[in-house]
């Protein structure tokens, strides 16, 4: 107990004022002469005593008001920890249900130990159960009902998420803020090292939380896993498709593992991989002979370890005929179609057939059959064709616009719907040309074409980039490549031409991967097929305007989205491994393969020193009483000023009542 601002206690001298008014001042009453006091009796002194008592009550209330106000300003406090130590505690049981807990009997052991902790607790002690995956999932409120708590523990099943101890600490901090008693946190986990955050400070727990760790394994266990698979999401020529798989061994001796490729549950190829001790080996399958449509593929190894769930890596492949790509150009521009068509056809996994038309012939063509459209520096478009193009893009199509000299003469970029702000003809400047400056390599178009610095740009069109994503800029900060969402589709604007005149990009090595990635991006192939990791988000729609329903069927065959969510959800989190069948808002269907995060396959555990450091007590027993923890913690002062002000208010009200009654008596007197 103490005072945060003891200087205000000097204000207690104010109590002298009511003391003077009630006691000293009252005794200075001047005697009044009266004819005879024969009708006043000595027993009236009892009345005086009654009056004095009421005076004393009023005096006491006034003194209390003053003292409480002074006390409130002095801000008294007491040590919260000392009080908390004497109070009740609350158990918080958190069971790790991440993917690594599937290894052996880890999850079963963790749940059994959690149940034993529940059984040994005092019945009057409240407890709460939660599960830790990628986030902390609270399963019960703090209750004393043992049956409910046991049921909550029993309901915890193996998950596919990656656990994060930082997320655990964040969740516990949030729970501790709302708890009125100290928390004894019991954490049941395999203490996987990969779950530790980069910074130890992220594990910090509030002082009111005492951490008790329950590791279910004592040492790291060897584990082989298919770490990753590279395969095309769409193929049209099975003989040219390749599947590359990486086999990783964690704390494993050197071994030979049999690696098999399964397509739709049927093993189509098998190889042996020499996996070094604790290392990786790559395996490549030369063909991917899948039937038309989506195929469920997986690469599997003979793991023979405690975690068989990571011995297979799922991916999906769609086989289809090559999709046509239309390039529209001016009649006098034949170079653009040559450069772009050559680049598109040179990619081994290209599933596109190239077609070029002049502006005049393109009018009236049905655009829906094309994977994407390229406008190669067109100067003029018929309004009907432009409207068709806009409708095509809004419906989910993609268009690449090369703004060369012909487009630069227009005031507005077609389809992209941005005005031409300026035209930069660098060939007439002293520098003669500009190079590409900043590039956003996270954009799918530049995924494998980072080195744009060698290209020379002699001409560029400047547009307002505020409504677009700037993927690349020239060195003078003029936007070079811009991506803009239009409806469900994308429009990609290259602020220069494809004809090799306004720049030399078509003859640069970076051009072919740029065309390939752009083709995959605009045709939507990059978003399809392949494989994703658990807890990643799947984009369902790019526009909020369209209320087209999406459809998801999860690996268990359920439809996890409600009707409202299906009409409005923009993304969906893939929470379990397996194949998701998806119909997106743009009408495309997809098969998404989801695999657990392979960092969960590394079963190395956190060193004991780190765990001791996390517990905050390096030398003591893991299990310690809450009281002991509370005593060792720095006491947290808890202010009492609010209570003092509340009491002062109550005393003030009582003083008003007593004083008003006294004054009312005086007013009634004639």
């Amino acid at each position: 107990m103490g005072f945060l601002v003891p200087g205000f206690l000097a204000g207690a001298a104010l109590v002298g004022l009511p003391l003077y008014l009630h006691l000293l001042r009252r005794h200075t009453t001047t005697p009044r002469p009266f004819s005879s006091i024969m009708f006043f009796e000595r027993r009236t002194q009892s009345s005086i005593r009654h009056r004095r008592f009421r005076y004393l009550l009023l005096l006491s209330l006034r003194l209390a008001v003053l003292l409480l106000i002074v006390l409130a300003f002095a801000n008294p406090y007491f040590k919260r920890a000392a009080v908390a130590a004497a109070g009740d505690k609350q158990l918080l049981l958190i069971v790790d249900d991440s993917f690594s807990m599937r290894a052996g009997t880890r999850l079963t052991d963790a749940k059994r130990e959690a149940l034993s902790v529940l059984a040994s607790r005092n019945e009057s002690t409240r407890a709460q159960v939660a599960a830790l995956g990628s986030r902390l999932q609270v399963l019960t409120e703090p209750v004393q009902d043992s049956a409910a708590l046991r049921a909550a523990v029993d309901s915890i099943g193996p998950g596919d998420s990656r656990s994060s101890f930082a997320e655990l600490a964040r969740g516990v901090r949030s729970l501790a803020e709302g708890a009125h008693a100290p928390i004894e946190l019991h954490f049941f986990s395999d203490m996987q090292k990969s779950s530790m955050p980069a910074s130890f400070s992220e594990l910090l727990l509030p002082p009111s939380v005492a951490l008790v760790l329950h590791p279910v394994v004592e040492r790291a266990q060897p584990n082989w896993a298919v770490e990753s698979v590279r395969a095309p999401g769409r193929v049209w020529n099975a003989s040219e498709a390749r599947v590359q798989a990486t086999i990783a061994g964690y704390q494993t001796p050197a071994a030979t593992r049999a690696v098999s490729l399964f397509i739709n549950g049927k093993e189509v190829a098998s190889q042996n991989a020499e996996v070094p001790a604790g290392g990786r080996a790559n395996v490549e399958f030369q063909s991917l002979d899948v039937p038309y449509g989506f195929s469920r593929c997986e690469v599997r190894i003979d793991g023979a370890d405690t975690l068989p769930a990571d011995d297979a890596y799922l991916f999906s492949v769609e086989r289809s005929d090559p999709q046509p790509v239309l390039l529209v150009h001016e009649a006098g521009d034949t170079r653009s179609s040559v450069y772009f068509g050559s680049a598109l056809g040179s990619t081994a996994e290209s599933s596109f057939s190239f077609q070029s038309l002049t502006v005049d012939r393109a009018a009236g063509v049905s655009l829906a059959r094309y994977a994407f459209i390229v406008l190669a520096d067109v100067g003029s478009l018929t309004s009907q064709f432009e409207n068709d193009l806009v409708r095509y893009v809004r419906g989910g199509g993609g268009v690449l616009i090369a703004a060369g000299t012909s487009t630069g003469h227009r005031s507005r970029i077609p389809v992209f719907e941005e005005n031409v702000l300026a035209i930069h003809d660098y060939s007439r400047d002293g520098a003669r040309f500009l190079a590409a400056g900043e590039t956003d390599t996270s954009h799918p178009s530049l995924a494998n074409s980072e080195h744009w610095a060698g290209a020379k740009f002699y001409y560029a069109v400047a547009v307002d980039p505020s409504a677009s994503r700037v993927v690349a800029k020239l060195t003078d900060q003029t936007p070079l490549l811009l991506d803009k969402k239009i409806g469900e589709g994308h429009a990609l604007l290259l602020a220069s031409g494809l004809d090799g005149i306004t720049n030399d990009l078509p003859v640069q090595p970076v051009f072919v991967p740029f065309v390939k990635q752009t083709a995959l991006y605009l045709s939507g192939t990059t978003d399809r097929g392949g494989a994703r990791t658990v807890d990643s988000d799947l984009e369902l729609r790019t526009s909020k305007e369209q209320a087209v329903s999406v459809e998801i069927v999860d690996p268990a065959g359920r439809r996890p989205l409600s009707l409202e969510e299906a009409a409005t959800a923009e993304s969906y989190q893939l929470t379990s491994s397996g194949y998701y069948e998806v119909r997106l808002a743009n009408g495309r269907r997809d098969l998404v393969a989801v695999n657990p995060d392979r960092r969960e396959s590394d079963l190395e555990i956190v060193p004991g020193d780190d765990l001791a450091l996390w517990r905050g007590n390096t030398g003591a027993e893991p299990k310690q009483s809450t009281a002991a923890v509370a005593q060792s913690e720095p006491a947290k002062p808890r202010s009492l000023w609010w209570y003092a002000m509340l009491l002062a208010l109550l005393a003030g009200i009582a003083e008003s009542v007593v004083a008003s009654r006294y004054l009312a008596v005086q007013r009634e007197e004639p």
Binding site: T29, F34, F39, T44, R51, P670
Partner: protein, 295 residues
């Protein structure tokens, strides 16, 4: 003229003689408009002269016209012995406004003297007492009696305590002829004892009237906070609360007044309560009513 009966107005007049004349003149002026009260100078009847009658009362005008002698009779013609017994103890010095009780008693006594001697031709006397007889002026109708009585009143300054026994016994020594006795006092004491002490005055056929003079604040004290009250006679003090003064005291003083009135009337005496902030005509009316009754 009625305003001159207001004690607050009279307090502005320093001369007791002038006060008495003002009161009586105002009072008489008021009576002329009143049908209830006669006046002793008013004509009552004619009576045939018989030998031995005072020739001064013969109506010579009637004799001149009729050659018969008639006596002119007036009301209250009979001369009375009128004595005022004035309490001049310290308690009479109490006042809550301009007029103290002793002043009010002086005004009443002076007015009665003036009325009795100048208008009624009664023999008026005065006894001033506290715990003993301090002044005694024998009842008389002599020239200058009014001045003597008024001087006696002016000299009656309050002091000491009240004791009725001595003045009453002293008064009895001089009382040889029946008359009217007015006792003016605040009568602080047990009513039965007061009446028992005063009652012997009636033995000689005297008419005894008690004029009970009280200040309005003695009936309704105005305490707004606890106060220490000091008895003017005994100098004792006591602490009093407003509640007690408002409730218990007022009930007790009312019971005292009622008891005194009842005891006095039981003993054949008249009782009249005079409040010092009320006009003086009540006392004069009482006097005339008694005198009329006696005639």
């Amino acid at each position: 003229m009625q305003r001159f009966l207001d004690p607050a107005v009279l307090a502005e007049i320093s001369s007791l003689d002038l006060i008495a004349r003002t009161v009586v003149d105002g009072f008489v002026a008021g009576l002329h408009r009143s049908p209830d009260f006669g006046f002793s100078q008013e004509f009552a009847e004619y009576r045939a002269y018989s030998p031995g009658d005072d020739l001064r009362h013969v109506d010579w005008n009637v004799f001149a016209r009729t050659e018969r002698m008639y006596l002119k009779k007036y009301r209250g013609e009979t001369n009375s012995l009128f004595t005022v017994v004035l309490d001049a103890s310290n308690s009479m010095n109490y006042s809550s406004h301009k007029v103290a009780k002793i002043d009010y008693a002086r005004y009443v006594a002076a007015s009665l003297f003036y009325l009795a001697i100048r208008n009624q031709r009664d023999a008026a006397g005065l006894i001033v007492f506290d715990d003993e007889v301090r002044n005694y002026i024998r009842p008389s109708t002599r020239q200058g009696q009014v001045s003597r009585l008024l001087h006696g009143l002016e000299m009656a300054e309050p002091r000491a305590q009240t004791d009725f026994a001595k003045p009453i016994s002293h008064f009895q020594e001089f009382l040889r002829r029946r008359g009217l006795v007015l006792v003016i006092s605040d009568f602080y004491g047990p009513p039965e004892q007061i009446v028992r002490t005063i009652a012997p005055l009636r033995f000689h056929g005297n008419e005894v009237v008690l004029f009970h003079v009280l200040d309005p604040r003695e009936i309704r004290p105005d305490l707004d906070k606890p106060a220490i009250l000091v008895d003017l006679e005994t100098r004792e003090d006591i602490e009093v609360t407003p509640e007690y003064a408002r409730d218990t005291y007022q009930a007790r003083i009312a019971a005292h007044i009622s008891g005194l009135r009842h005891s006095a009337r039981s003993a054949g005496m008249d009782y009249h309560l005079l409040i010092t902030d009320l006009p003086l005509d009540g006392a004069l009316k009482e006097y005339l009513a008694i005198r009329q009754r006696r005639n």
